[in-house]
């Protein structure tokens, strides 16, 4: 019983952490351009970095 009192808050806390991370990403515009994000990894960045 006591183990439950520890484990349940941990489980819920981790879940909430994931939810918070998702909302953070959503607000940060991570889901604005899903196709672009998939393609961007293929762009060769051999020249000097540019600011975005």
């Amino acid at each position: 019983m006591t183990s439950l009192l520890v484990l349940i808050p941990i489980a819920l806390g981790l879940g909430l952490l994931g939810l918070a991370a998702f909302f953070w990403a959503l607000r940060g515009g991570q889901f604005d351009d899903l196709d672009g994000a998939a393609a961007r990894i293929l762009i060769e960045d051999d020249n000097e970095g540019r600011g975005d």
Binding site: L12, G15, L19, F31, D33, L34, D35, L42, I43
Partner: protein, 724 residues
């Protein structure tokens, strides 16, 4: 002044350009790097889904400079009108409810498993309270899209699929809350949350698909494009955007430019291509004092046009009026899911009421009878039914998009599946819509003539020269070396060709002195002149596409605004009969007549003049080269040159509806099994959860078969024709 830019605080301006031609990582890299190299540009960031690039630059750099910079690296682009307006996404507002429902469903399920495996007493009560604490706020938040839609329907005294969903979820939540308070055995939060998660996931997918199709079409629309070179009173030239053109302004329209506004020619004379406006393929001559319409293409000479006020009687205003009327007709269409729920909701609600009465008559207490009746409502909650339509449409739309057909509207596939009569516009739909030189004449010309023709054509931006240059380059012809090239507006390109040292020959590519239709004359001093006729060719695979339509049981007919002779030619080539010289209103009438005869009509068209017909027909499809009005009015847009997209779309929509019906049968079959159990009082939350997820997974699995919905079956007859 740069009307398309806005200025953030740091003094840099931000401009959004639409680049329709971007579709891979290489394009993204090229565009971003190319723009970054322009002096004055701070940063460029591509959004590939929206086919847009956002550029931060010094305010003195104008949007037209950026368009020119992109043109230099080979990308056509347009400034986005209203740079501030972020494109509205249908999927984004659903993402947060989905995340909340998913989180809550998983955690409540975790606790429920404990209860199912035998937690008793204080532990079960603790778990139930925790479930309620997570579940009630999560349902209140994540259920909103359904509650709002159901409330909207009920207020208008209608019902849709969201009504039984909302009732089921709310009743399950209410009963569970009561059970938790009195310390009862069963709480149904897990079922309600799982239902919401599944349904939201289906809707998010559906909305994402729609977003993608919309941004694809959005990229094809010309957001600005149209402006005009204006001549001030003192003769100086300037540039003005279309909306800034006032009546009385004089525009100078170069050859190859589209008119930005209706006007009267004040000097010069030329021929105009009105095919987008009226469907007429032969150019129309207009001279001093003649009225010319916005959207027509100036073919030959630069002309000065004085803008006249756009009155109610202009062609464009008339078309807009016709379209508005038919758009209202179409909104009366009731989607299949809503039709199903009209039968389904009363049926399950009656069943639940009968269960309540039955148990009361059998002598059960009110509480027990209520709990069983509610269990019936929960078990019939249309989880699989709610997924039956959206998942099938998402998979089919995805397959169609890979095949180059964009589905703009959710109900489009449903309406498309019923089609049994097709009306096809000629110019731009059955044909490619742009003149191409006669292949037979080109191959009859000697090699040196072709080389000279290519060299001359490549020096002009006239539409006919460009068509000729494209056709010759495609044949692998190399340009001959020319010197002293001059282009005389309205006349042609003139140059000197030196094939051998010391023997220069005058060559020219010019407007013929007399010719019917569109043609160009190639003169090489010392050789006889070549007359190269240009014609609007049929789309590749047009015949096969029509044969396939016939195999699908769809009768096809040409409905064109062009003159009878031009329609006759295409009718002969395709073996269809046709109606010629149809005005926009005639086209709409033709569809209304067919609909009154009980036919379900598909309209395929591209022009401004097809707009009313596209919105009147039961379903409509337009090529990606269509006018803005055509793109907006049609349900589906195909971006490849092949006309096979039309039978493919019909076939895919029919397959989709077949899968939707199977899905309904599967979902209702599950209910037929589960409802007697529920009515007998045997259903527990665990059984409900298992049944719900199994039926949803089956429906999703069945829908995934639509990934291959666009495959065309073999057609022996069409193959024979192609080989012939």
């Amino acid at each position: 002044m740069n009307v398309h830019a806005r200025q953030p605080a740091d003094g840099l301006a931000e401009t959004v350009l639409i680049v329709p031609g971007m579709h891979c990582a290489g394009c993204m890299g090229k565009v971003e790097r190319g723009l970054a190299e322009v002096s004055g540009v701070d940063a460029a960031r591509v959004n590939l889904s929206a086919r847009q690039v956002t550029v931060r630059h010094r305010p003195d750099l104008t949007g037209r400079d950026l368009v020119a910079a992109l043109d230099a690296i080979g990308f056509e682009s347009q400034l986005r009108r209203g740079a501030l307006a972020k494109s509205e996404s249908a999927a984004r507002p659903l993402l947060a409810p989905l995340a909340v429902a998913g989180f809550a469903a998983m955690n409540v399920m975790l606790l429920s498993v404990g209860v199912w495996s035998g937690a008793e007493g204080a532990t079960r009560e603790l778990f139930h309270w925790l479930s309620a604490a997570i579940g009630i706020p999560a349902i209140a938040y994540a259920g909103q899209p359904f509650f709002r839609s159901a409330w909207g329907a009920l207020r208008r005294r209608r019902t849709n699929m969201d009504v039984p969903i909302s009732i089921g979820v709310l009743i399950a939540t209410g009963l569970s809350a009561y059970e938790v308070v009195v310390g009862g055995r069963h709480a149904w939060f897990d079922g309600a949350l799982m239902l919401l998660t599944f349904l939201l996931a289906g809707r998010v997918l559906d909305a994402m698909m729609r977003d993608r199709a919309r941004s694809g079409v959005d990229a094809l629309l010309s957001h600005v494009g149209h402006g005009a070179t204006v001549v001030a009173a003192d003769g100086t030239l300037g540039w003005q955007a279309t909306d800034a053109l006032a009546p009385g302004t004089v525009m100078r329209v170069a050859a190859g430019e589209r008119l930005a506004a209706d006007g009267v020619i004040v000097s010069g004379g030329s021929r105009f291509d009105q095919s987008l406006l009226t469907g007429e393929s032969a150019p129309v001559s207009a001279g001093n004092g003649d009225l010319v319409m916005a959207g027509t293409l100036n073919l030959d000479d630069p002309v000065d046009v004085r803008v006249v006020a756009a009155g109610e009687d202009t062609t464009v205003a008339e078309i807009a009026r016709l379209m508005q009327a038919s758009a209202q007709d179409r909104s009366k269409y009731v989607r299949i899911a809503d039709r199903a729920s009209r039968l389904y909701a009363p049926a399950v609600h009656t069943l639940a009421a009968l269960t309540l009465v039955g148990w009361l008559l059998a002598g059960a207490g009110l509480y027990k009878a209520l709990v069983i009746a509610v269990a019936v409502l929960i078990i019939t909650c249309p989880c699989a039914l709610g997924l039956a339509v959206p998942v099938a449409q998402v998979v089919a739309s995805g397959a169609l998009m890979r095949a180059g057909v964009m589905v703009k509207d959710g109900s489009a596939l449903e309406r498309m599946a019923t089609v049994d009569y097709a009306l096809l516009d000629k110019t731009g739909t059955l044909t490619l819509g742009s003149p191409a030189p006669d292949k037979a004449v080109l191959s009859a010309m000697p090699a040196h003539a072709r080389e000279v023709a290519l060299a001359l054509a490549s020096h002009s931006r006239h539409p006919i020269s460009r068509a000729l240059a494209a056709a010759l380059s495609a044949q692998g012809v190399k340009a001959a070396p020319l010197v002293d090239v001059t282009e005389r507006a309205g006349n042609g390109v003139f140059a000197t060709w030196t094939d051998r040292p010391g023997a220069p020959r005058a060559v020219s590519l010019r407007r013929p002195d007399a010719a019917s239709g569109i043609a160009v004359s190639l003169d090489i001093a010392g050789d006889p002149a070549w007359l190269i006729p240009l014609a609007d060719p049929l789309r590749p695979d047009a015949r096969e596409a029509l044969a396939r339509m016939k195999a699908l049981g769809i009768q096809c007919q040409i409905l064109s605004g062009d003159n009878a002779a031009a329609v006759r030619d295409v009718a002969r080539q395709t073996g269809l009969f046709g109606q010629a010289a149809a005005s926009p209103a005639d086209k709409q009438d033709a569809i209304a007549r067919l609909q009154a005869m009980g036919r379900s009509v598909l309209m395929a068209g591209d022009g401004l003049n097809d707009g009313p017909a596209l919105s009147k027909a039961d379903a409509s499809i337009a090529p990606g080269t269509a006018s803005d009005v055509g793109l907006q009015a049609s349900d589906l847009v195909f971006v490849q040159p092949s006309l096979l997209a039309v039978p493919r779309a019909v076939l895919a929509s029919r397959r989709t509806m077949r899968v939707v019906r199977q899905n309904f049968a599967l979902a209702i079959g599950y209910n037929v099994l589960a409802v007697p159990l529920a009515m007998a009082g045997f259903v527990t939350p665990m059984i409900a959860a298992i049944a719900m997820s199994v039926s949803s997974v089956i429906v999703i699995g069945n829908s995934l078969r639509l990934n291959r919905a666009t495959r065309l079956p073999r057609l022996a007859q069409a193959r024979g024709q192609k080989a012939a």
